[in-house]
């Protein structure tokens, strides 16, 4: 146990000091920040530069349009001058970004935008103008009263889901988004940390320090310390990312005037549709999936003699993870499909797929327990078999062993 603790704490220290871990952590945090903040900033940037406008047209029309347009734009002035505006005209009206020329016709309002920079106005702004002026347009086109138009536009539409674990479509969509992000996290963390184990074992093997180490500690303690330290740091990394996401997410949900898209992204981290059971399942399946793959990666790393061989030994192990990732993503759409059901019990890939099923559907507890038990059994089996290969491989130099030799080692 002391050996394990020594290796574990030394590995933690080494990894915390390693550039790869720190850069990965920072990139992850920046990614989360960008993921949540960027849409708002982009919206703000686009909005700020193209938001101030001058309304041009018949005085009565601009007077009625101004309060509607003010929802999305800053109306810096009105004018009745029907000639196409010049840059000097915009400058004289508080340096407005554009002028909206409104004209009434038999079919409603015709809008012509004269912008300093058409790129700042864009299709989104045109849609907003269209939407803002819709009540006025309808009123003018149909000659209905303002009240009747408003009533028609405010028609209530309720959307409900059938036989789902979620109470509404919005909740289902949020859960789907959260699950997608968590599956990506699961994939990213397992791949990243298993690769770290692979390169760490390969470094010890190729630098020949492995022999010095196994003369000092049991190979099993060495392997266990290595894998446990990487798991600890992976969880630490994940907790930091989620904490940053939750912090920004909760901040965002309180931000007034945030657009629909934006609250959807921040909602991934502030939503209540994900239950403690799902969070628990995420961590449980992460641990089980990681332990299986990291042990296999360690065994593979012990067989190589040159760092150039890292890619060739890791490829066969990465492929099942990629397959699992894609099956899990499709499982979010079809959680009850037969192939999803079957693959959610297959070791190595089931951590991704069972988690996807849990996130978006009502999985019977017995199935969750069975998948956990199968994965736990797989962890133990892989640890025994891969541990044997690791013990032998670590001191094996020269030509890489053939499959027959590896098989003989496993049977020994």
């Amino acid at each position: 146990m002391n050996e394990f603790i020594t290796v574990y704490s030394a590995e933690i220290t080494r990894r915390l000091k390693s550039r790869a871990f720190r850069i990965g952590l920072i990139i992850g945090v920046l990614g989360i920040v960008a993921f949540i903040r960027l849409p708002q900033y982009m919206e703000k940037l686009a909005g700020d530069s193209g938001k101030s406008i001058v309304l041009v047209g018949d005085r009565a029309l601009t007077k009625r349009a101004a309060p509607l347009i003010a929802k999305d734009f800053t109306v810096v002035g009105t004018s009745t001058d029907a000639s196409p505006p010049t840059a000097a005209f915009l400058k004289s009206h508080n340096n407005a970004a554009a002028s909206l020329m409104l004209a009434e016709s038999a079919s409603g309002i015709k809008v012509t935008i004269y912008a300093k920079d058409p790129g700042n106005i864009g299709a989104a702004s045109a849609n907003r103008i269209r939407s803002d002026l819709l009540p006025l347009n309808l009123q003018l086109a149909t000659r209905m009263s303002q009240v009747r138009v408003n009533n028609l536009l405010q028609m209530q539409v309720d959307i409900r889901t059938v036989a789902s674990k979620f109470g509404s479509v919005a909740d289902a969509e949020t859960a789907h988004n959260i699950a997608s992000v968590l599956i990506f996290f699961l994939y990213f963390l397992i791949i990243l940390n298993s690769q770290l184990i692979l390169s760490s074992v390969a470094e010890e093997k190729t630098s020949r320090i492995a022999e010095l180490l196994v003369a000092s500690v049991q190979p099993t303690a060495l392997l266990a310390g290595k894998i446990a330290s990487a798991a600890t740091l992976a969880i630490l990394q994940m907790v930091i990312w989620i904490a940053v996401g939750a912090l920004l997410g909760s901040g965002m949900s309180q931000t007034p005037g945030a657009s629909g898209n934006f609250t959807g992204l921040s909602g991934l981290f502030s939503s209540s549709v994900i239950s403690p059971l799902e969070i628990g399942a995420f961590f449980a399946f992460f641990i089980l999936g990681y332990l299986q793959l990291a042990t296999l990666f360690a065994a593979a790393g012990s067989l190589i003699n040159r760092t150039e061989d890292l890619g060739s030994v890791s490829m066969p192990l990465v492929i099942p993870i990629i397959i699992a990732f894609f099956v899990a993503i499709t499982a979010l759409q079809t959680p009850d499909a037969g192939y999803v059901m079957v693959t959610s019990f297959i070791p190595l890939i089931s951590p991704f797929i069972m988690f996807a099923r849990i996130a978006v559907s009502n999985v019977p507890p017995i199935q969750i327990a069975a998948s956990l038990a199968i994965n736990l059994a797989a962890v133990i089996t892989i640890a025994i078999l891969a541990g044997k290969v690791y013990r032998v491989g670590l001191l094996l130099y020269g030509r890489p062993p053939k499959l027959r030799q590896i098989w003989a080692t496993l049977r020994d």
């Binding site: 050996e3 020594t6 030394a10 630098s207 022999e211 010095l212 196994v214 003369a215 000092s216 001191l395």
Partner: protein, 299 residues
């Protein structure tokens, strides 16, 4: 006492060690010799418990080697390796911790080894930045920082300049004085001859000969007699020694190989009576002579 009894180790269809046995009393320095591929490294790994023998046994003070015992041993493998990015001081301390040492002993011993091996100016530098010789010294410190009961050193002097080799030699002698049993494997016979009090020569995974240097020499059938001046009367006396054979030399002396049981005092008396003798040496076989003969006999 370390007792290696008829150990055997196979790897697939390859027999690395067939039958090796020796005993090493506590506190002595033992030389394990043999050509490349003789099975020395495999034998050392079996002593350390890295490999389990397929047959035979390895015991330390009468007990099988286990995990806790292994932590009291130290090992410098032939193939060198360190964590390139870890600093020298950290690396030595880490191996101390792996062997069960605790603070403040780790810090004290680490500092002591750094000083003894002249590594002060590199102590806070990553090991990967050090020269090969200095890396080797760091590895010796890693292997010995916990003052092991048994220290196994596989080719500790290879690649070292004479000054660094001397520094290590002194360090090993200090360890020996403090009670560490040393097992050395080296192809630099003169160093082993200075350091070791017992030897075992193995070839093709089997014992050839073992014992103290005197015991090994006792198996040597001849001795070399070196006499000066080189005159006809001296030559005539030497020619008449039963079983004597002249050996060509370039230094002007008369060198004769004579049977090991020749009566040197009588020979010397005859020579002094015949000539004014300026040199008379009865040269014992060196460890290298014994080693080469043992290997050649096997071949």
């Amino acid at each position: 006492m370390l007792k290696v009894e008829h150990v055997r180790k196979d790897f697939g269809g390859v027999r690395a060690v067939s039958d090796v046995s020796f005993e090493i009393p506590r506190g002595i320095t033992f030389g394990l010799l043999g050509p490349n591929g003789a099975g020395k490294t495999t034998t050392m790994r079996m002593i350390l418990g890295i490999y389990t023998p397929d047959a035979g046994s390895v015991t330390w003070d009468g007990k099988q080697i286990d995990g806790s015992m292994r932590r009291r041993f130290g090992y410098l493998p032939e193939e060198r390796g360190l964590y390139g990015k870890m600093k020298v001081r950290e690396q030595i301390a880490y191996f101390g911790r792996l062997h069960g040492m605790t603070e403040p002993t780790i810090t004290q011993r680490t500092a002591s080894w750094i000083e003894q091996l002249g590594l002060q100016e590199y102590a806070e530098r990553p090991c990967g930045e050090l020269s090969k010789g200095n890396q080797q010294k760091v590895q010796v410190a890693c292997a010995a920082v916990h003052e092991p009961e048994l220290l196994i050193l596989d080719e500790p002097f290879s690649g070292l300049d004479p000054i660094n080799a001397e520094m290590l030699l002194n360090a090993f002698n200090d360890l020996k004085k403090r009670g560490t049993t040393l097992v050395l494997s080296s192809h630099q016979m003169w160093q082993l001859e200075i350091l070791c009090s017992r030897f075992c020569i193995i070839t093709a995974g089997q014992n050839r000969i073992s014992g103290t240097l005197a015991e090994l020499r006792s198996t040597w059938p001849t001795r070399l007699i070196r006499v000066q001046p080189n005159t006809p009367s001296v030559r005539e006396i030497l020619e008449h020694i039963p079983g004597a054979h002249p050996i060509a030399t370039e230094n002007g002396s008369l060198d004769y190989r004579v049977p090991a049981d020749a009566h040197y005092s009588e020979i010397l008396r005859s020579l002094v009576a015949a000539e004014a003798i300026t040199q008379f040496d009865a040269v014992e076989p060196s460890l290298q002579d014994i080693y080469i003969r043992a290997i050649e006999e096997r071949a």
